[in-house]
């Protein structure tokens, strides 16, 4: 056994409550079926938070100390301890939306265990099954379903054990909060801890993949769930409020050093020469690490690394061709450029990218009224509140990465491939950090830390600075839209032609060893770029003739560019829905219709629906939002007031996957300053079964405000050499003063059979941002009579639009 000092105590200390007769290490090592790595089991929760560093045994010498837990084993998912408490192990992360609390509610409910008797470990690649980490709003919709089935299976097994112990058939037993008792003789009881505490289940599960994991047991009808549906306070909040939580940024390891990147000052610039003498006098300087155009400095202390990165004299050669147009010329560039392709190949067939229903050209030619409009949506950043960071420890030839990256599993495999290490020698420990909302530079920082740690041979902490984060983090792609719609004599939409251009040529995936920034700067390229290209807005309007086409445009600089694109909360949804749902409003105006009535009319024209009842549930949320707002039917815009403040209301709706959302924004527009204030939002939200209503509301509240921020403030600006948005002034965000006075959230269950025992839960992390921008823009139109078609609706654009309209 060798000892290494690597694990923060709070992750290690968690072993203590139940090491009386066994430990998780022994527990799984001796199973004969599988070896679940080594080391401590991290409890997430304030009661076990430690401080400082611990040390622990890493077990026998092994070339592969960090294998993957096997999802087909019950013991990989949960452990019942001798005191009757349980620890759950799930392959998800929690950015602060209560995912962990919700998992505990769901799993305790199926297990018949008190919520307080559970703890949860998330996103530790050597200890939790690979559920992919977070993303796609799928934690509750998909991954918690597997976890729920596993918990139900554990309960089944425990009931059988109880039956044997008490000598009574299982159907004669009842169970509550981990205590099994005989129905007719309450004096006869046995606890889960008595039955299995500290021992393995040794029960195999089935499933072709982790999402299909199941045992023999059935899950309960949702009506029998007691914890699901309760607003249980989040377990992670107290430690975030009292300062005791250890975040990924807080981990300090013996011998740890600090690194900072030196980014190219111009996009596409090449390193010509590095003058290391320029920083020679900085105390604590260890190394300048340089490969290709990747440059970093490593110092003993953090402030030394900051200074060295600022002071290092690097001579860069600018690229021969301007890497991209300026942000002022962006949209004309997108419209004028030749798109990469108008077709796509599936198998041996090449088909047009355009999706056509009916005969839109003929329908437009025959329409009574034609409406045409262009919409623009800029690049936007994730701009996490804390810039990207990662800590990598290369001790003993292994690699441990401490990160808040929401996808620790792909970080593990990506780093292993990048460093040419067996994945079994790499593990990733997810810890709390700034919320990410998609593919952020957290991926990049994890790779950089691992690369530098391997180079230096000591634990290396990489911390991006604010200017790097804002300029170089992956961006949500910019779109230019051209829309054309036709109305018949009754004012119904008979044709809709949607054409989008998107700057999303080399969409960066998660933790890919050939697209992370360090790889790109080193000259590594994927075999082929992965163009994005989202479908149009997600709605259920019955429009008989449609054409929908999204074409990808590339800039001269495709790789190692600060305008690299990646997933940003509800990828492409805010952009496409800003255009789509604003345009539906324009059609309603042209039809002389109330915007709510117009939308409902086009949803009700068909009674086709799908398995998730998207049509019925779309109608339900629009009706619920209108009712909660007190919507009175009238035409938009309303007559413009004469005061300084103009007020208006607007609605928009969308679905994201199987969740439906309708939102009404009430705005005040200051005609002297151009400031738009969203004073009130009503959000009607149907995500099916709700696990924790307060967690849901918190998530939606934040998401709605994120939507306002992206609609009114956020825009990445750049000239033809570099991104010029580098801080909170040049990539602004919504602030306290901009917060609405009222946010009303109506949780809708529009399922045609709302009391069905298998009511599913649908994703809720992202959908409510989708229609927000259009609701705000429609409200601004209602207030001012001017249609604003370029996001964000910044004051200078509002003033210019009002001045144009007033001629």
């Amino acid at each position: 056994m060798k000892r290494v000092d690597v694990i923060p105590e709070h992750l290690n200390k968690a072993l203590e409550p139940w090491t009386g007769t066994t430990s998780r290490r022994d527990f799984l090592r001796t199973s004969g079926l599988f070896v679940l790595g080594f080391g401590g089991v991290g409890f997430v929760g304030p009661s076990v938070l430690g401080s400082g560093l611990g040390s622990y045994d890493v077990g026998p010498d092994s070339a592969a100390p960090y294998p993957h837990p096997d999802f087909r084993l019950l013991d990989s998912w949960l452990v019942v301890h001798e005191d009757g408490t349980a620890t759950f192990y799930v392959g998800k992360t929690d950015g602060g939306q209560g995912t962990g609390t919700a998992f505990r509610q769901i799993m305790c409910d199926e297990l018949d265990l008190a919520y307080e008797s559970s703890t949860l470990v998330m996103g530790r690649t050597d200890m939790t099954v690979d559920q992919g980490g977070s993303g796609g709003s799928d934690a509750i919709e998909r991954d918690a379903v597997a976890a729920r089935r596993v918990a139900a299976e554990a309960r089944r097994v425990l009931m059988e054990m109880g039956s044997e112990r008490l000598g009574v058939a299982t159907n004669e037993l009842v169970v509550s909060e981990g205590v099994i008792s005989v129905r007719r003789d309450a004096s006869k009881t046995v606890t889960y801890g008595d039955l299995i505490g500290g021992r393995r289940f040794d029960v195999a599960l089935t499933g072709d993949n982790v999402n299909a994991t199941a045992g023999v047991a059935s899950v309960k009808p949702v009506q029998d769930l007691k914890l699901v549906g309760q607003p249980i306070p989040r377990y992670d909040i107290p430690a975030k409020v009292d300062g005791s939580l250890e975040w990924a940024v807080d981990v300090r390891l013996p011998g740890m050093v600090h690194a900072r990147n030196v980014k190219p000052p111009l996009a596409g610039a090449r390193v010509v020469r590095i003058d290391e003498s320029s920083i020679r006098e900085i105390p604590g300087l260890l190394r300048v690490v340089h490969k290709g155009n990747y440059v970093a400095v490593v110092c003993e202390r953090e402030e030394q690394a900051v200074q060295a990165a600022t002071q290092l004299d690097v001579q860069w050669a600018p690229p021969r061709t301007a890497p991209f147009p300026s942000s002022e010329d962006l949209f004309s560039f997108l419209r004028d450029a030749s798109p990469m392709s108008r077709t796509r190949t599936t198998g041996s067939r090449t088909v047009p990218l355009a999706r056509v229903e009916g005969d839109p050209e003929q329908a437009l030619a025959a329409a009574s009224t034609i409406v045409e409009a262009e919409y623009d949506f800029p690049f936007q950043g994730h701009t996490a509140i804390g810039p990207a960071h990662g800590l990598a420890d290369p001790s003993d030839g292994q690699m441990t990465i401490y990160t808040n990256d929401m996808k620790p599993y792909s970080l593990r495999t990506g780093v292993a491939e990048f460093l040419d290490m067996p994945p079994e020698q790499v593990r990733v420990i997810w810890m709390d950090g700034p919320q990410l909302y998609g593919r952020t530079a957290a991926d990049d920082a994890g790779f950089e830390a691992a690369y530098l740690a391997k180079e230096i041979g000591r634990p290396v902490r990489v911390q991006w600075m604010r200017h790097e984060e804002t300029a170089w983090d992956t961006k949500g792609p910019a779109f230019a839209f051209n829309l054309k719609g036709g109305l018949d004599a009754d004012g119904d939409v008979v044709a809709l032609d949607y054409r989008a251009r998107v700057a999303d040529y080399a969409h960066v995936g998660y933790n890919q060893p050939d697209t992370v920034l360090i790889a790109q700067l080193m000259g590594i390229r994927p075999n082929r770029p992965a163009p994005g290209g989202a479908p149009g807005p997600s709605e259920m309007y019955s429009i008989p003739n449609r054409r929908e086409e999204t074409l990808v445009v590339r800039f001269p600089l495709a790789f190692e560019t600060p305008l690299r694109t990646g997933n940003l909360r509800d990828p492409n949804g805010p952009q496409t829905t800003f255009a789509g749902e604003s345009f539906i409003d324009e059609l309603a105006v042209a039809a002389g219709a109330d915007p709510v009535e117009f939308r409902l009319r086009h949803l009700r024209k068909s009674d086709d629906d799908d398995a998730a009842f998207l049509r019925a549930r779309s109608i339900a949320v629009i009706e619920a939002a209108a009712e909660a707002y007190g919507w009175e039917a009238r035409l938009s815009p309303k007559p413009r007031g004469t005061g300084t403040i103009l007020t208006g209301r607007g609605i928009a709706y969308a679905h994201r996957a199987r969740t439906t959302v309708a939102e009404i924004a009430e705005v005040e527009v200051d005609r002297t300053t151009g400031r738009v204030w969203v004073k009130r939002i009503v959000c009607a939200h149907d995500c099916g079964l709700v696990i924790n209503p307060d967690g849901l509301r918190s998530t939606i509240q934040g998401n709605l405000l994120h939507g306002i921020s992206r609609t009114l403030y956020e825009e990445v600006q750049f000239d033809t050499e570099k991104v010029t948005s580098v801080d909170w002034r040049t990539h602004p965000t919504l602030r306290h003063a901009d917060t609405p006075e009222h946010i009303d959230i109506v949780v809708v269950n529009g399922d045609p059979n709302p009391r069905r025992p298998d009511l599913p839960a649908y994703g809720a992390g992202e959908p409510s941002i989708k229609p927000l921008g259009a609701a705000v823009a429609n409200a601004v139109f209602d207030a001012t009579g001017v249609r604003f078609r370029r996001a964000p609706l910044r004051p200078e654009r509002i003033l210019a639009g009002l001045a144009d309209a007033d001629g």
């Binding site: 400082g52 602060g96 107290p238 409020v241 250890e246 810039p387 918190s698 609405p740």
Partner: protein, 166 residues
């Protein structure tokens, strides 16, 4: 390097650091504190906030040697293990999402309420406006500040309820 003395959360520390080092790095790396966090290094976001003699200060842009007052960090806000009313209100309103900025939100709110125990809505928004939250928990922060203000007012008030026959 030279000796710098800091008073933090009731303890005095003498440290051998470059006196121009931003206070934030010394609090985090030399004193092992977790409350103040690096958000921008530019004094723009507030994640690094500490209280210096009760005033909210951005520790990322202050050199260590320039701070001579009593420093209180998020860890030092509780008294004898009891959370400050602002912290209690934060938990009761379930304010944080990721929580990374909440250090600055809580300390700025505390300093604001110490100056102005009963802020109007406009004063509250103005007083908090420089502290950024990218989870956009502002709506709950406002509710928590109002709750904390009520709680602090009732704590400070003389025990008049019974006397007034309420």
């Amino acid at each position: 390097m030279s000796e710098v003395t800091l008073k933090v959360n009731g303890e005095t520390h003498t440290l051998d650091v470059d006196p121009t080092t931003p206070l934030l790095y010394v609090l985090r790396n030399d004193l092992g504190l977790r409350g103040p966090r690096f958000g921008c290094g530019l004094g723009q976001c507030g994640a690094c906030t500490v209280l210096v003699d009760g005033t909210a200060v951005r520790s990322c842009t202050r050199s260590t040697s320039s701070v001579t007052g009593e420093i209180t960090t998020l860890e030092g806000l509780a008294v004898n293990g009891e959370l400050h009313p602002v912290q209690k209100a934060w938990i009761e309103e379930q304010v944080p999402q990721c929580g990374f900025c909440q250090n600055g939100q809580i300390l700025t709110a505390k300093a604001m309420l110490d100056r102005n125990p009963n802020p109007t809505d406009a004063e509250l928004r103005r007083g908090m406006n420089g502290v950024i939250c990218r989870c956009m928990t502002y709506y709950r922060i406002h509710a928590a500040i109002r709750r904390a203000a009520d709680s602090m007012a009732s704590q400070d008030a003389p025990e008049s309820g019974a006397e007034a026959g309420l």
